[in-house]
Amino acid sequence: MNRRTARGNRLGLIIVGVLLIAAGAFALGRGFGVIPRLPGGAPVLSAPERRMANTADWFWPVAAIVAIVVLLIAVRWLFVQGRSSKIANLRVDGGSAGRTRMPARVVTRAVEQDAAEAAGVLRARATLIGSRARPGLRLDVTADERADWPRMRTDITGRVRHDLRDCLELDRLPTVVRVRMATAGGRNPDLV
């Protein structure tokens, strides 16, 4: 998943929603006879409209094109839901001899081990996201319920992150840290 998808989803929902509101409002407006010069008693599909659809050469081809365009957009919308911003490989500067690639897994495993040593951290999962030129780090941390938060935070955002930044030789490393607790929160069997 990815933040562009999130924005696209909201935009798509707004567009479809607005179109539906417009169509429904038009139907209601005609039904209650509030649209001038369009009588409410007329049939939804009038005889002239049907004649036009059947005699105009352009009508059905245009309808087919519209349907296909909508179909393509909707299929794409469906497919981008699975889009992730995960990077599988990193580019390592190998001089002029060519490009060297390193699997991101090598890096993320090191980060995970590094993070697991931080105070209060039980497990960590790291993912590199973004683009190869400007990678970011996503770190899912499972913490001990009695973790010392300030220390854990400095450990992760300081040491772990700086190590990775130095290793990848990056000036910036946008990072998202997500902390969850080892136990089912609130209903800890030790407590109840």
Binding site: L19, G24, A27, W60, A74, E145, T175, R180, N188
Partner: protein, 218 residues
């Protein structure tokens, strides 16, 4: 199991601790900043409504395209029962109650979609302040509940704890073996302080209200 004592915390007083309201641009840099980014990262992505709408569009547009293209090619492929639909629409007037109901339903569905898109939604992860720029940190709601429960369980005179975290509120219910109502309200006060301290240590980006209820189980 009787009386219920309540002790509702007020959000911290202004001027005091580190996280109060939305920081200004300068202050936001000091606290790890970019609250907009921070909020967006953990916003729900609206995948389920998007997938439902997209799937409906795919089905309808595919059937329509297939039907129209078949008709243009001189074949009949009446999947959508186009003839029957045309006859029905030709016989239906705009002012017919059925047409009005359909129109109203369409408007409502549209409104629902627009609201879903505009409302930020309840994030499953609560943002934390972070001193480092470029870092956005958050804790799951369950994690928050757990931190609150652990803090409350450590309080003297507390033997059972249940915590809930919803919106910007953390509710903690504790049982105490103490019988005296004054003692129970002291437990409530201590619990609230302990939970507030735990929330302070977490350093949430937006402060939460802590409410404590004490039941005397003795």
């Amino acid at each position: 199991m009787t009386t219920v004592e309540q002790n509702t915390g007020v959000p911290r007083q202004p001027g005091e601790p580190r996280h109060r309201a939305e920081p200004s641009a300068g202050a936001s840099r000091a606290t790890g900043g970019r609250p907009r980014v921070r909020r967006r990262v953990f916003r729900p992505r609206r995948m389920v409504p998007a997938m439902i709408v997209a799937a409906v569009l795919v089905v309808v547009s595919a059937l329509a395209a297939a039907g129209i293209i078949a008709a243009l090619a001189g074949r009949r492929l009446d999947i959508l029962h186009a003839d029957a639909a045309t006859r029905w629409l030709a016989g239906l007037s705009w002012s017919d109650p059925v047409a009005k109901v359909i129109g109203a339903v369409v408007v409502l569905v549209g409104l629902l979609l627009v609201v879903t898109a505009i409302v930020p939604g309840r994030p499953r992860v609560v943002a934390l302040n972070c001193a480092e720029p470029d870092v956005v940190a958050g804790i799951t709601r369950r994690g928050l509940r757990c931190v609150a429960a652990v803090a409350a369980a450590d309080v003297d005179g507390v033997d059972r704890v249940r915590a809930k975290a919803r919106g910007r509120r953390v509710r903690v219910k504790v049982n105490t073996p103490l019988r005296d109502s004054a003692d129970a309200s002291a437990v409530a006060g201590r619990t609230r302080k302990a939970v507030e301290q735990a929330m302070d240590d977490l350093d949430l980006a937006r402060p939460v209200r802590v409410a404590v209820r004490v039941r005397r189980s003795g």
